[in-house]
């Protein structure tokens, strides 16, 4: 059951083979047995989860079931949920019980999904290893010496370890896709503007996008059906006709042109990742796809551009954490300025402070044009590269991460090395394009490898179809780390 797909779980619930309460209890039990080791969750609240499960059971009994009714979903601790501690992985919000629901939470509540807990994450989503969390690092369930990736590392770990059937994540520069790749699960960052950012604690507003993380593309499609939708409370939310993301899953791939950026395959990728990705591409060839070499000449500038724009926006977004209205306040201070400075020095971790300082610097007087404005112009060039590339292909593929999961502590003192692990994922955020990662095998130390698929705007259904067809002929997505169920 812990290994079942969302569709299978929904069927069992509908057929009353199991109740939502029983399902929730089973997953909670599994979480409790694994979490002390893996640290994927910051908060679990059995009482609140079970209360939701009871409501779900009533919905099912009265014939009002939605495909996700009664199914436990873990929520990244970046989504505000009424009555839930919502920490964003930070000491700054270590006492913040949200007084309201994010749009994403509202939508899951509406369909009767069960919030089974809040997952660990890099502090304010800033990190690629989950080591910046105030609540301690998450471990990779495939190898507890390894990081799970980040920032949605708790969600990735929870799904990979089968502690939950599905989870949410957010992605500013790869925070859904990179941990999905490192933990051997599937994750998608939709087109910017499809999932409301309302109630999703902002890191870099023009890049942040919520999305689902699950075992398979089919599960992702069901989750996207819930998460995507217009929200008047988010000015950047897109008003579009709603679509069923499962609609194209079963279609044969047909005429599929896969773009392979020559820059991605030129250098930087480790050998184990390269061979797994090449094997996946070979599989697509077998499925009838044709490969096209494309060029994304400016994409290699994604990292500098990102490390100007994201910290700049973050430095401003995180100014609201000042110890006045909610959250942490330093206990000793001499005056107002001192209260601010100590609260923020004590409430934020090193990586967050580093990024606030970078962001403050690039926006400060005399530097704006050279850094911020230049980065915005390059952002346009990067987006244009994709526009050009999509004239020749339907999707772009490559590795999600240049290497498999690294060891805990290996890069935590070297921000630069850490930043480079986002090299393949960031460009999609800058352009606002949908992008996903699916598991395609294992590399060194038997750690998972992810395939990165970038689509054109609003092509999520096609991308899910492409991923699903691969998952019909392979079983990487069904593999779970060994030894997980010993406790049972």
């Amino acid at each position: 059951m812990l290994n079942a797909s969302l569709k299978q779980l929904a069927t069992q619930l509908l057929e009353k083979k199991i109740s939502s309460v029983e399902l929730t209890e089973a997953f909670l039990k599994h979480i409790k047995s694994l979490n002390p080791e893996l640290n994927a969750f910051i908060t679990i609240n059995e009482e609140m989860s079970l209360a939701q499960a009871q409501v779900a059971d009533k919905m099912i009994a009265s014939g009002q079931a939605h495909p996700l009714t009664g199914i436990p979903v873990a929520q990244k601790d970046i989504f505000c949920a009424t009555g839930w501690l919502t920490t964003c992985g930070s000491k700054m919000l270590s006492n913040f019980v949200s007084p309201y629901d994010a749009m994403v939470i509202e939508r899951f509540n509406q369909v009767g999904a069960v919030n089974i807990g809040k997952t660990n994450m890099d502090e304010f989503a800033m990190g690629s290893s989950n080591e910046t969390s105030y609540y301690g690092p998450v471990k990779n369930p495939w190898d507890t010496l390894a990081v799970p990736g980040g920032s949605s590392g708790g969600s990735a770990c929870a799904v990979a370890a089968r502690m939950v059937p599905a989870a949410t994540g957010t992605d500013t520069g790869g925070s859904i896709r990179q941990p999905a790749a490192l933990c051997g699960i599937s994750g998608i960052k939709p087109t910017y503007g499809l999932v409301s950012r309302y109630g999703m604690i902002a890191f870099a507003s023009s890049l942040d996008q919520g999305g689902p993380m699950a075992k398979s593309a089919e599960d992702l499609a069901l989750l996207l059906n819930v998460m995507v939708g217009f929200d008047g409370r988010d000015s950047t939310s897109l008003q579009r006709e709603s679509e069923d993301y499962t609609r194209d899953l079963e279609k044969p791939l047909g005429q599929l042109r896969i773009g392979l950026p020559k820059e991605y395959f030129a250098k930087g990728m480790s050998n184990d990742v390269a061979s797994a990705v090449e094997a996946a591409i070979a599989e697509y060839r077998k499925l009838g796809a044709t490969m096209v070499e494309v060029s994304l000449p400016n994409t290699m500038l994604s990292i500098p551009v990102y490390y100007v724009l994201a910290p700049a926006e973050a430095s401003s977004n995180l100014s609201r954490f000042d110890g006045v209205r909610y959250g942490y306040r330093a206990s000793r201070y001499t005056d107002l300025e001192d209260m601010y400075k100590k609260t923020r020095a004590e409430g934020f971790g090193a990586e967050v402070k580093r990024r606030i300082l970078i962001g403050t610097y690039v926006l400060s007087h005399g530097y704006y044009d050279a850094y911020y404005l230049q980065a915005q112009k390059l952002r346009r060039l990067i987006a244009r590269d994709f526009t050009e590339a999509f004239k020749q292909c339907d999707v772009i593929m490559g590795p999600t991460s240049p290497a498999v999961a690294f060891n805990l502590g290996e890069r935590s003192n070297d921000p630069l090395q850490m930043y480079l692990s986002d090299i393949y994922t960031i460009a999609a955020n800058l352009a606002g394009l949908p992008a996903m990662s699916i598991p395609v095998g294992f590399g060194g130390k038997n750690r998972p490898v992810g395939l990165h698929i970038v689509g054109n705007y609003f092509k999520e259904a096609r991308m899910l179809n492409i991923a699903h067809q691969y998952q019909q002929v392979t079983d990487w997505h069904l593999r779970a780390p060994a030894g997980l169920f010993e406790a049972k």
Partner: protein, 95 residues
């Protein structure tokens, strides 16, 4: 471009983050690394390129001018560090 410890302190002050001498030096070393990466941007000629502020080329949607929110200050202030008489308390503000 080279950063100095004074730059770090100036920026930390703007960002209202307390930072001591040792931390400033440590941060300086890390930021210098990051800025050497960022400097790569300067190699590209971007004259005539329109800056891109948003991921989608869209225009602002407008909200109808109606009151939709009701008083929730008791709930909101239940999570505040220090309140009295409905006010958030802070160390004396000097103008």
């Amino acid at each position: 471009m080279t950063l100095s410890v004074d730059d770090v302190k100036r920026v930390a002050n703007l960002a209202r983050i307390e930072i001591n001498e040792d931390e400033s030096k440590q941060v300086l070393a890390q930021l210098s690394g990051v800025f050497s990466l960022i400097e790569q941007m300067q190699a590209v000629d971007t004259s005539n390129i329109v800056p891109m502020s948003h991921a989608q080329d869209m225009i602002q949607r407008l909200r109808e001018d109606v009151v939709t929110e009701s008083d929730q200050h008791i709930l909101f202030q239940s999570i505040a560090p220090q309140v009295e008489a409905g006010l958030y308390l802070v160390p004396k503000v000097i103008e």
